[in-house]
């Protein structure tokens, strides 16, 4: 990719006056140091002990009440919280910016675990639309199926569904990894910008439509490719990464990754040629 700073000739758009800012490459600087990640805490978060465990029955609680109680338990140092009777309620577990081991004994409705950064979550049921939207870091495992917009706009972390997911999985995702044990619906990876999606089963129509960057791995049949989505060579490095990722995710450990298809963006955009910050560390 060309270095923006070294372009002498103005682009057609710039010569038409559409761009007045001279791009300096600042957008490609790294503002996040992965070495500091482990010591990073949000203001108002808690020092919790994973060995300190408690149950929380949310049967008769509204979602705000339940979420407030989770926060209250974390403030008391509980690092492992088991949520009983979630009953498909919406917006449970949202906005947790803390290290936490969270277990849901049942299913969640819409927007479960949205806007989280850090928790390790296991959901022993199903999730509705937009599970873990905007996830920054951590791990969310769903034992059954998931609805549409699974992992929308996630920035990091691992999001794993052992069953099948609906349409628009990983829409607008900007990092992280989504792993699907079953099938995925239409428009999977729609407008994805970074990150990786692994689907062990079949995937619906318009896969990777309008994707900017990122990679999609598919084990089964593809309904159709979306605009800008193209096949790429599955390298040995990819296969090694897939094996390790599936093992860590406790899903498809024996899956023959060598037969998977790799789908990437057919267009190369100027700001999408960098590894994830955390992956830089691994590469070194």
């Amino acid at each position: 990719m060309a270095n923006i700073k070294t372009i002498d000739k103005k682009s057609k758009a710039q010569s038409m006056g559409m761009h007045t800012e001279v791009l300096t490459g600042r957008t490609q600087q790294k503002f996040f140091n992965p070495d500091e990640a482990e010591n990073f805490y949000y203001f108002g978060t808690y020092d919790v002990d994973f060995n300190k465990r408690t149950d929380l029955d949310v049967m008769n609680m509204s979602a705000p009440e339940a979420n407030k109680e989770i926060d209250n338990l974390m403030s008391q140092g509980y690092g492992t919280i088991v949520i009983k009777n979630p009953q498909g309620k919406h917006s449970l577990g949202v906005g947790i910016l803390n290290k936490l081991n969270l277990i849901f004994e049942g299913s969640l409705g819409y927007f479960g675990m949205g806007s989280c950064d850090g928790p390790i979550v296991r959901i022993n049921g199903r999730v509705g639309w937009s599970c873990a939207e905007n996830l920054m870091a951590g791990k969310v495992v769903i034992e059954k199926n998931a609805g549409s917009c699974f992992g929308a706009a996630i920035r990091g972390g691992d999001l794993i569904c052992k069953g099948s997911v609906g349409a628009r999985t990983g829409i607008d995702m900007k990092g992280g990894t989504i792993i699907i044990g079953g099938d995925a619906g239409a428009f999977t990876g729609f407008m994805m910008q970074r990150g990786r999606i692994i689907i062990l089963g079949d995937v619906g129509i318009n896969l990777g439509d309008s994707m900017y960057d990122g990679t999609i791995f598919v084990g089964g049949e593809i309904g159709s490719y979306g605009s800008d989505a193209v096949d790429a060579e599955l390298t040995l490095s990819d296969q090694d990464w897939l094996r390790r990722k599936l093992k860590v995710a406790e899903i498809g450990e024996d899956f023959d990754v060598s037969k998977m298809k790799k789908i990437v963006a057919g267009k190369k955009l100027w700001n999408y040629d960098n590894l994830e910050p955390t992956e830089k560390k691994g590469a070194i």
Binding site: Q87, G88, K89, H90, G106, S107, G109, Y110, G125, R126, G128, W129, K144, N145, A146, G147, S148, G163, S164, V165, G166, A167, R168, D183, G185, A186, F187, G204, I205
Partner: protein
């Protein structure tokens, strides 16, 4: 936004009125301008049940114009006369509200088109449903309000579909509320969540084929579209599959007949649906919390994929 829910018991009957009320009430945040029920009750199958209205609910939030109750009485009188002229005998008559009536009619016919046209030629009269088992009840307010108003919680039957409406493209009134009867087919009803973008084109075509529209609600098109397909000889499932290409827009809808329940989802899967399926019960709704109201224990549910059509029998 709107919410839809439906359930079908296979091989047995249940209190579907109360069950559907619970499902729709769980979805009331998706819209409570109006709520409608299509209930398939246990009957002896001898008489037709006609649910019809002779006016509108003009309560708070209604977009309808106030009319005197005497006008409703006059319309009812003309309906009674017309039925008598057609040789239809009213076996049982219930007038739950001044504008809403339920008749059990002893009448022999295989073609309800002429019958319906004559009844609906009376100004201000609309048949909400006609069938040997189907009863469509719809009115303004949330599921509990409508259920209480019409005492639906005792109704026993095999299956039901319903709709919680947030009015967007047409008025807050009963005529625009769901479910829609699949005029002129006995025992066919439809509920829909979404928007149809080729409503007027399809409506013109169907009106030229003799079909009728009572509202300007785009969802009514689905009922009429499926009914027309069935009139041309298609099965329910064939008609629904055809609708995936014939209807443009985003939609998830349910269709019910006397002995079956079906769902269809558009090819973009833009509208939600969660489905629970077992040997003796199928329950589905816009959100899982609707299903939870009838199955509070842990269950396996899933989202049907884009372009999926499913039909279940009782």
């Amino acid at each position: 936004m709107c919410g839809i829910a439906g359930l079908i018991h296979r091989g047995k009957s249940s209190n579907v009125g109360s069950e559907l009320q619970g499902m729709l009430q769980a979805l009331k945040h998706r819209g409570e301008d109006s709520t409608g029920y299509a209930l398939y009750g246990d009957t002896d199958g001898k008489n037709f049940i006609m649910r019809f209205k002779v006016g509108e609910n003009v309560g708070e939030g209604s977009s309808s114009v106030m009319e005197d109750v005497a006008v409703y009485d006059e319309r009812k009188k003309i309906v009674d006369q017309t039925l008598a002229e057609m040789g239809a005998k009213i076996v049982k008559e219930e007038r739950t509200l001044p504008y809403s009536l339920r008749y059990e009619i002893d009448f022999e016919t295989k073609d309800l088109l002429d019958f319906s046209q004559r009844i609906e030629s009376i100004p201000g009269v609309e048949i909400l449903s006609m069938g040997k088992s189907l009863e469509v009840i719809k009115d303004l307010g949330n599921a509990k309000m409508v259920c209480d108003r019409y005492s639906l919680d005792k109704l026993v039957g095999t299956h039901a579909i319903g709709h919680a409406r947030m009015a967007t493209e047409s008025g807050v009134d009963i005529k625009s509320a769901h479910p829609f009867w699949g005029y002129p087919f006995s025992d066919v009803s439809v509920v829909h969540n979404g928007q149809l973008t080729n409503y007027w084109n399809n409506r013109r075509v169907l009106e030229n084929k003799g079909m009728r529209f009572m509202s300007e609600c785009d969802s009514e098109l689905i009922a009429v579209y499926i009914a027309q397909k069935m009139r041309e000889g298609a099965s329910l499932e064939e008609g629904m599959k055809d609708s995936l290409s014939g209807l443009d827009g985003v939609f998830t809808y349910f269709v019910a007949t006397k002995d079956s329940l079906g769902m269809a989802k558009d090819t973009m899967a833009a509208k939600p649906l969660v489905l629970y399926e077992s040997d003796d019960l199928v329950a589905m709704g816009s959100e899982e919390i609707a299903i939870r109201s009838v199955l509070p224990h842990e269950i396996d549910t899933y989202d049907p994929f884009d372009g999926e059509v499913k039909v279940w029998q009782i």
